[in-house]
């Protein structure tokens, strides 16, 4: 992978390779925690912290982590940081802890974090990895917050728990349910596509080479099956 400038590494995650809306990673927490803006924002920040820490840690040890043992190593590191974040949230933000519930633990298996470990941190310098973590984390948080804003305003007539009186009569409860989440998700993906003129998913830059399955995948399988244009 060619070296990118620090700024482009950082900005990559926000729109061009937004983990949720372009890479379509971390769908489960995205759908689950975007019913309220507070929950979504909290989830985003928690994932951001874990992402930065695990990216730095993995990048730091990338030379000594053995190739064959890398997944268990990543999982231990990620799970460790998730547990630390969980303890900190429980201690200092008990309300958020109650809102996020089990999804906080599930950050461990959030594919964004494992994905970035595999795709980026294991191959890049500590500084780049940290920037990638920040960028991806902000991208995740932004995507979640935007999605939650749409869902909470339309579905519950409130924003971040503050009621919007004139919306009260126009609540669409569907939006707070799973189908509403998928609808908003789809529309946001389409929006990103339009905004970036369809150029956002620069597939070559993260397909086979960057794909989290690349290690186990027969190289070029995607191409053969015509997945890649």
């Amino acid at each position: 992978m060619k070296e990118k400038s620090s700024l482009s590494v950082f900005l990559n995650g926000i729109i061009k390779e937004n983990p949720v809306l372009v890479l379509v990673l971390g769908t489960c927490p995205t759908l689950a925690t975007t019913t309220t803006v507070n929950g979504a924002f909290g989830m985003g920040i928690a994932a951001l912290v874990v992402l930065i820490c695990s990216n730095i840690f993995i990048s730091l040890f990338r030379k000594i982590i053995p190739e064959t043992m890398r997944i268990p190593c990543y999982i231990v590191i990620i799970a460790g940081f998730v547990t630390m974040v969980k303890m900190l949230v429980q201690a200092f933000l008990p309300d958020l802890y109650a809102t996020l519930g089990v999804y906080l633990d599930l950050i461990t298996v959030n594919c964004i974090i494992l994905g970035r470990a595999e795709m980026f941190a294991s191959k890049n310098t500590v500084v780049s990895s940290a920037l990638d973590g920040i960028g991806m984390g902000i991208g995740f948080t932004l995507a979640l917050t935007v999605m939650a804003t749409v869902r909470e305003v339309l579905g519950a007539a409130s924003f971040a728990g503050i009621a919007i009186p004139f919306m009260e009569s126009f609540k669409i409860e569907f939006m707070t349910k799973a189908p509403g989440g998928l609808l908003v998700y789809g529309l946001l993906i389409a929006l990103i596509h339009v905004v970036t003129h369809g150029k956002a998913p620069v597939k070559a830059s993260f397909s086979c080479e960057g794909c989290i399955h690349s290690a186990t995948c027969v190289s070029g399988a995607c191409k053969r099956e015509g997945v890649e244009s």
Binding site: F61, I64, I65, P66, T68, M69, P72, C73, V76, I77, A79, G80, T83, M84, M87, L88, Q90, A91, F92, P94
Partner: protein, 392 residues
């Protein structure tokens, strides 16, 4: 092999580093988390004792407390106690938090959970604030939920008693059965403490219940709050009874009541609904009828395939007034419908007439069973009409 050892070493090292980091985080956060949790318990306690500062849980093992008391917290500055009470029975299981200050006055009561979605019991506790033990009974009942009200009041009384006991005092915390046994024994010592409730087949004016001494020494009549002991020969044992001769008359009525079996084979229409029928000398009927097991929903028997019926024994005067009612057997759901075998439920029918026998408190959470039970009573009334018609 060499590679494996190297891999393993790296993995163990990473695990160790992570473990150390976790241990450090835990040492920082654990005390704060514990403090937060205590604060949330305190917040719940403060709701019923707003002037409290801090609370500590009381070890209850050395005290003999009412059965409803689950947990007790002491206000550390001696302002009083908060008791967590779990009421049971008659399908109105509730968790009530009740604060009592040092003067024995309720500082607040709130129902935090009940076996149904919290309805009126959610806010009912507010009425107890500022009341002492003598004033609790006077608090208005919840309309249509007499049993819930009663359970709530008893819970509040238990909290008040708990505060007295923990403060070093003593109160009567005997169960209702024990209190009843004591009252019966005091009214008729000749009964030697062994009594059985008599199923009333005759109308006895202003008598709520009759207990017969198992040794045949006599009877105890319960009228309102009074227990009147009467020997088998009609001598009233209890002092200060107005109109003792009426009780002598009741004994004579009971002894003279002969139940005459009615041959049901003459009435094929009743075969499906009536188990047995008897008639007394005064013309009252004593019937055992069947109500739909598992209840009635939308007018249909909910579980028609089942042979498990609710069997009800009911005595009815010739002018269709229920004298007494008793559940003989039932196979309803444990913890819900089986409350129809509690006296607190079937006792409600005594004194009702054909016009108002449906106006009873339903078993909460078991409307279908309640409907099935009412069907059994309805069938008794219907059967009496058939029997009367047949006799004419």
């Amino acid at each position: 092999m060499k590679n494996s050892i190297k891999n393993l070493t790296v993995f163990v090292c990473i695990c160790t580093v992570i473990t150390v980091l976790l241990a450090i985080t835990n040492s920082i956060t654990a005390p704060i988390i514990e403090k937060n949790q205590n604060a949330s318990v305190n917040a719940a306690l403060l709701e019923v004792m707003p002037e409290g500062k801090d609370f500590e849980e009381v070890d209850l093992t050395e005290y003999e407390l009412p059965a409803t008391v689950a947990e007790v917290f002491r206000e550390t500055e001696g302002q009083g106690y908060v008791a967590k009470l779990v009421t049971a029975g008659y399908g109105s299981d509730m968790v009530v938090m009740c604060g009592v200050n040092a003067d024995g006055v309720v500082t607040g009561a709130v129902c935090t959970a009940s076996n149904e979605t919290l309805g009126k019991e959610k806010t009912y506790g507010e009425g107890f604030t500022g009341k002492n033990a003598d004033e609790v009974d006077a608090v208005d009942t919840i309309a249509g939920a007499t049993k819930t009200t009663e359970a709530y009041k008893n819970a509040v009384k238990d909290a008040l008693n708990t505060a007295i006991i923990l403060g070093g005092g003593s109160v009567d915390i005997r169960t209702e059965e024990e209190i009843l046994a004591d009252n019966l024994n005091a009214a008729l010592p000749e009964g030697e403490g062994s009594f059985e409730k008599w199923f009333m087949v005759e109308q006895l004016d202003s008598v709520d219940a009759v207990y017969a001494a198992e040794n045949g020494a006599g009877y105890v009549f319960v009228t309102g709050e009074q227990f009147v002991g009467v020997k088998a020969d009609g001598t009233v044992v209890t002092d200060g009874v107005t109109a003792p001769e009426s009780f002598a008359g009741f004994v004579a009525t009971i002894q003279a009541s002969v139940l005459e079996d009615i041959d049901l084979s003459v009435y094929p229409d009743l075969e499906a609904t009536v188990v047995s029928a008897k008639k007394t000398a005064s013309g009252s009927y004593v019937l055992e009828t069947k109500g739909a097991g598992y209840g009635i929903k939308g007018g249909d028997e909910y579980h028609p395939a089942s042979n498990e019926y609710i069997r009800v024994r009911v005595s009815v005067t010739p002018d269709f007034k229920i004298i007494d009612c008793l559940t003989v057997s039932e196979a309803e759901t444990d913890g819900l419908g089986d409350a129809c075998a509690d006296e607190s439920f079937y006792g409600q029918f005594a004194g009702k007439s054909e016009a108002d026998y449906t106006e009873i408190d339903a078993i909460s959470g078991a409307t279908l069973t309640t409907n099935g039970y009412i069907q059994a009573i309805e069938r008794a009334f219907a059967a009496i009409k058939v029997l009367n018609g047949g006799a004419q």
